[in-house]
Amino acid sequence: MRVVVVAAEGEATRRAALSLSTHPDVEVALLGPTTSSQFPVVDSAIGYDAVVGSERAAIEAGIPAVVPGALERHFGVEHCSIAGLALALAADLEGVGTVAVAVPGAGGGDQEVTFPSPIDSRRARAESFSGRTVFVADSPDDVAAALALGQDRHRVILDDHRFMEGVALAAGVGVLLAGYESGPVWRHAPAYLQTATEMGLVIGERPA
């Protein structure tokens, strides 16, 4: 059993707390100042097993952080995000060509990437995530997608943007549950994706 503290600083972290509360091996508390009728609210992460969403609080408590971006001064699970999901999908594919995400409001670029419907063909720009390139495209409405195109197989996760963002963050705790303490999610892709699917995401695959 892991007891984690979630820094409830936005919708993604609040949704991550809800997703984590469905996991049988995780207990959740929120890091104050905040209010909640659903979770205990604590002032410090000291004595807990991990902090979700805040590197600073993890440093203060000396425990692993689980964050959507890169960690700068501490250890923990990095890139627990939609881009991280795409890179995790690509982790064991042979001859990976394109790794891409589509999120609402992301803007465009000069590379064309074709996502499954309803996102379809989009203009994307290349962004670097700890040295890995992911093409980032705009998506319509509230839909998001993580796409990995390998030489033989293509993989995708497509879902409601906010739900996907919350699960992508929460699933980083699955990496800790599997016994790892640090690294980007794509280095521990099986544990990360297994937890993400247990929390409700579905991986689609087709021949290239």
Binding site: A91, D92, P116, S117, R155, V156, A189, P190, L193, Q194, A196, T197, V202, I203, G204, E205, R206, P207
Partner: protein, 43 residues
């Protein structure tokens, strides 16, 4: 007049039954999902 009403009533009922049976017996339209199939996470 009553006979005409009865004929119309019977025709309506028969039409509804035929429409119902046709819907039940017709093959469902194939949904094009672009070849994507749900899979277990890689191990």
């Amino acid at each position: 007049m009553n006979r005409l009403k009865n004929i119309l009533f019977v025709a309506t009922v028969v039409g509804a039954v035929v429409a119902f049976l046709r819907n039940r017996l017709t093959e469902p339209a194939a949904v094009d999902r672009g070849g994507w199939k749900p899979v277990e996470p890689p191990r």
